[in-house]
């Protein structure tokens, strides 16, 4: 049990934090989570802190017609959270806006 718990912990998180505050592994992790019923939530973790996430979320909300928010996380920094499955949308948008290269995007989920 305790060993497995260690697995979810990135051994290099501290090291990379020293070099670059917000990016754990240089990747933007896009995840989906199920909520109650058919509702889902998309989270975007690992965007550079040089970007104004509030501006990004404002643009995304308008573009994808969904609600969204920026969450401050002690370990992962600012995380974008959008309602619904916006994984495809956010990938395209981030690429188009030049905020991330396609190979930096890591899409999780089913």
């Amino acid at each position: 049990m305790s060993i497995q718990n260690l697995n979810t912990f990135d051994p290099f998180a501290d090291a990379s934090k020293g070099a670059d505050d917000d990016v754990q592994d240089g990747l933007v992790h896009i995840r989906i989570q199920q909520r109650n019923g058919r509702k889902t939530l998309t989270t975007v973790q690992g965007l550079s802190s040089e970007y104004d996430l509030k501006k990004i979320v404002r643009a995304c909300k308008k573009e994808f017609a969904c609600n969204g928010t920026v969450i401050e996380h002690p370990e992962y920094g600012e995380v974008l959270q959008l309602q619904g499955d916006q994984r495809e949308n956010i990938c395209q948008w981030l690429t188009k806006a030049g905020l991330a290269k396609p190979d930096q995007l890591k899409v999780h989920g089913f």
Partner: protein, 314 residues
């Protein structure tokens, strides 16, 4: 052979479907080419006629003076050819299942295979069009590979390629045969339990097939699906949330790609070892050893009712 094919067909089809319905940049990019080839393999039998016609014309021009030999080949029946094609298809399928997200040289292989197949097919059509006399059909392979030997025309790329593969297969019969059985992956049995939970019934069985600790696969699944779950008394995995079989399959595929097949040679004959906080994939076939991504939960949004959380912590 036929059984293998039968086993693989559904997977291939599923994969195609999945490509449409779910989104995964990496997989989509990498699988794109393979799926195309896959399509060709599965549906080639219906789709190819046009191409065959065109190519058949070319061949007629090219091979004017090999007509004699062609007659020899006429005999072999469509079924035989299908069987031969199945051979190749099965191999392709094998590789496809494993290495969905194969890189460039894998794609090359696939392309090569499809070329080979096309070639055989056009002969098939030639034979049919020239209306076959019934003779024995054993010699077709040798004739195929040495078609130019009696003439002074230039051999084509396809013929050379074909020849190389035939020789390779002749000399290493176990290479092709050995891989086939290993690559059979049973699809996950996914059943909904009520409205909020999903059962992955053959979870333990699949772990055993992949030679991985159930805990490791469990961690990966839960991290990817962003949910919680556990293995129950009947060794089935109960996951919170509603998931369909193809979704679980998608995640499994990514797991296999990252943690089961060798990153160098894609052999599934690998050992996952933990070494100073990192996992390493040791290949038993080629000896390669490389570190694999650690399974990270990452940021998890709060999806439970906040009131309930407050009640718990307070």
């Amino acid at each position: 052979m036929a059984e293998d094919e039968a086993m693989f067909d559904p997977t291939l089809k599923k994969k195609k479907k999945k490509k449409k319905t779910t989104f995964d940049i990496e997989a989509a990019l990498a699988e794109g080419s393979i799926s195309e080839v896959g399509n060709g393999d599965v549906e080639g039998k219906d789709d190819d006629p046009k191409q065959k016609d065109e190519e058949a014309d070319e061949v007629d021009l090219d091979l004017d003076f090999t007509k004699k030999k062609k007659k020899k080949k006429k005999p072999f029946s469509t079924e035989e050819l299908d069987a031969a094609l199945n051979d190749i298809n099965t191999e392709n399928a094998n590789e496809t299942v494993n290495m969905e997200d194969g890189d460039d040289n894998f794609d090359m292989d696939m392309l090569d295979f499809s070329k080979m197949k096309k070639k055989k097919k056009k002969k098939d059509l030639d034979d049919i069009m020239a209306e076959g006399d019934e003779k024995e059909d054993k010699e077709n392979v040798e004739v195929n590979t040495n078609e130019w030997s009696g003439s002074d025309r230039d051999y084509t790329y396809d013929e050379l390629l074909n020849r190389a593969f035939e020789i390779m297969r002749d000399k290493n019969p176990d290479m092709a045969a050995g891989k086939k059985q290993k690559f059979v992956m049973r699809p996950p049995q996914v059943v909904r339990i009520g409205t909020k939970k999903t059962s992955f019934a053959n979870f333990t069985e699949i772990c055993r097939m992949l030679h991985r600790q159930p805990k490791h696969l469990l961690d990966f699944l839960l991290a990817e699906l962003g949910t919680s779950g556990s293995v129950d008394g009947n060794s089935q995995l109960i996951i919170k949330g509603r998931f369909q079989q193809k979704q679980i399959e998608n995640v499994l595929r990514r797991y296999i790609k990252e943690y089961v097949t060798c990153h160098t040679c894609r052999s599934p004959d690998t050992i996952l070892q933990k070494d100073t906080r990192l996992f390493f994939l040791q290949c038993e076939t080629c000896g390669s050893r490389c570190s694999v991504a650690s399974i990270k939960l990452g940021f998890q949004a709060v999806t439970a009712k906040r009131a309930a959380i407050r009640a718990k912590t307070a």
